[in-house]
């Protein structure tokens, strides 16, 4: 069965459902309705832009253009990671986290798109863009959790970190427990969703494929692959993000440059 295309007026009717949450939020004086309005408008405009842009991208299907689009997505994710991690936009963070996310995505894309799926054309838009987008979205979420946990915990427990240093630890030995905790915190949500997937929720990618007429068996194969890609990509990017930024955010006496943290 082919997918039922939604007309624009049908989609507009869909917006009416927001009346219910907006009333609940207003009734309890949450003050969130302005935010809801802005978020809804942003979501619609951003997706409209991406929809038209991707149509164009899919038509051209040029590997260089696709790679450039990935760069843009990584760059936006880089700034979003820093902002949502409550860190300051400093070169010492922006460059390492960009490099970490970009490298993480490249490894995952090359492995899954070229080795596992074996795309007929290099970085074919139909596969590259959605899979990269899904992995990147999850990398962003994990990076925010992991990088925030690492730097704020290190700052909060400076005495413990300094105690390790004065016990003869190298910087990488002294940050080890903070690194471990940050990795645990960032990997746990993905692990939890891997453990419940299919039982509690049907994931977006699988749902989309089924809606567009794919067999559920093909859909679950892609879903398993994407979960592996997401988990590996998130752990790799958090690991590299902390490891690389660590080279630039300490003074030569191993003290953390606390100006990277917001007050």
């Amino acid at each position: 069965m082919d997918i039922i295309d939604l007309s624009w007026w049908q989609l507009s009717i869909g917006f009416l459902i927001l009346i219910i949450p907006a009333w609940i939020l207003w009734r309890y004086k949450t003050g969130l309705n302005k935010k809801l309005g802005i978020a809804t408008v942003r979501m619609t405009l951003q997706l409209l832009f991406v929809g038209y842009y991707l149509e164009y991208l899919f038509e051209l299907d040029n590997a260089w253009l696709n790679a450039a689009w990935i760069m843009v997505m990584v760059l936006v994710a880089d700034f979003a990671t820093i902002d949502r991690s409550e860190l300051r936009r400093k070169k010492s963070l922006l460059i390492p986290i960009f490099a970490a996310t970009f490298f993480g995505i490249i490894v995952i894309d090359i492995f899954f798109l070229e080795l596992v799926i074996q795309l007929p054309t290099f970085l074919a838009a139909q596969y590259t863009i959605p899979i990269t987008g899904m992995v990147l979205g999850n990398c962003l979420r994990s990076n925010v959790i992991g990088i925030n946990a690492f730097y704020y915990s290190l700052n909060e427990h400076q005495e413990r970190y300094r105690f390790y240093l004065t016990c003869g630890a190298t910087r990488s030995e002294a940050v080890f427990p903070f690194f471990r905790d940050a990795l645990k915190k960032s990997a746990n949500p993905t692990l939890a969703s891997m453990a419940t997937i299919g039982l509690v929720s049907l994931p977006g990618m699988m749902t989309g494929q089924i809606l567009s007429g794919s067999s559920p068996l093909i859909a679950i194969k892609y879903q398993i692959m994407i979960m592996l890609a997401i988990f590996s990509g998130t752990v790799l990017s958090v690991y590299l993000g902390i490891k690389l930024s660590n080279r630039f955010v300490f003074f030569d006496n191993d003290v953390l440059d606390s100006s990277i943290l917001k007050d």
Partner: protein
């Protein structure tokens, strides 16, 4: 000198005639100069030397033209009210802060990145109420002795247990969660680890603040009887009496 910093002999350890001085600033300063001269002239090499140190923290002066020398084997106690610069002094000595002006030396060598790293392999610092996070005492000890610099000193469980006993703790504590222990127990576990690391220089932040009389005696027996250099901050008269020298820091007026 903008800061009042003087040394007063408080114990009979190295200067047999010295006794606590009462209400006599002139005598205190006189004796401080006398003791400082004795120390300067002593055969023991200097471990830490700070000369003409100026240090401000967030535009607030902490040290003005402050000088200090601590020699090998000395048991020095630093006292002073809150805000007098005790914590800052430790941070400066440990290389976590650099002075705005002045000369800091460790074993007569000026502080450099390499020297600071070398120094941190030769000393140990124990904060007052150390939170080492999750894990049992044995696991935390394994972590500390897993550092490349400490691997050769890694104690067996038996030796670790014996050291805990010397400090008045049960051997069975090795399997207890560190976070569930009292402040005094944590303090002694930290001291045991510092002791077992075999470091010649120990910087201790209020080492007896959470200990009863019996435990204090055990800590003193373990740490003050050998040739280690002990630099401690303390307000505990009992501990101060057992140190060779007291540095009384006065906050900037």
């Amino acid at each position: 000198m903008g800061y009042s910093s003087y040394s007063v002999p408080y114990s009979t350890r190295s200067i047999p005639t010295a006794r606590p001085l009462k209400n006599s600033y002139t005598r205190a300063v006189f004796q401080a100069i006398f003791i400082q001269t004795l120390i300067m002239n002593s055969d023991s090499p200097a471990i830490f030397t700070a000369s003409g140190i100026h240090f401000s923290y967030e535009n607030e002066k902490v040290f003005s033209d402050f000088s200090l020398q601590i020699n090998q084997g000395e048991k020095v106690a630093i006292k002073g009210e809150s805000g007098s610069g005790k914590t800052t002094l430790f941070r400066l000595l440990l290389g976590f802060e650099y002075p705005d002006e002045g000369d800091m030396r460790y074993k007569e060598e000026p502080y450099t990145t390499q020297l600071i790293q070398q120094m941190r392999r030769e000393l140990a610092w124990l904060p007052q109420d150390l939170n080492l996070g999750e894990g049992t005492v044995q696991e935390l000890s394994d972590f500390l002795f897993g550092f490349e610099a400490n691997k050769s000193q890694k104690p067996s469980s038996k030796r670790l247990g014996e050291t805990l006993t010397k400090l008045g703790l049960e051997k069975s504590m090795l399997n207890q969660k560190y976070a569930e222990l009292s402040t005094g127990q944590r303090q002694r576990i930290g001291l045991a680890c510092c002791y077992l690391m075999n470091r010649d220089i120990l910087l201790l932040d209020e080492p007896t603040s959470a200990l009863d009389a019996q435990s204090k005696q055990k800590v003193a027996d373990l740490l003050l009887q050998d040739g280690r250099t002990i630099i401690s901050t303390s307000h505990d008269e009992w501990w101060l009496e057992r140190c060779d020298r007291i540095i009384d820091l006065q906050p900037e007026q």
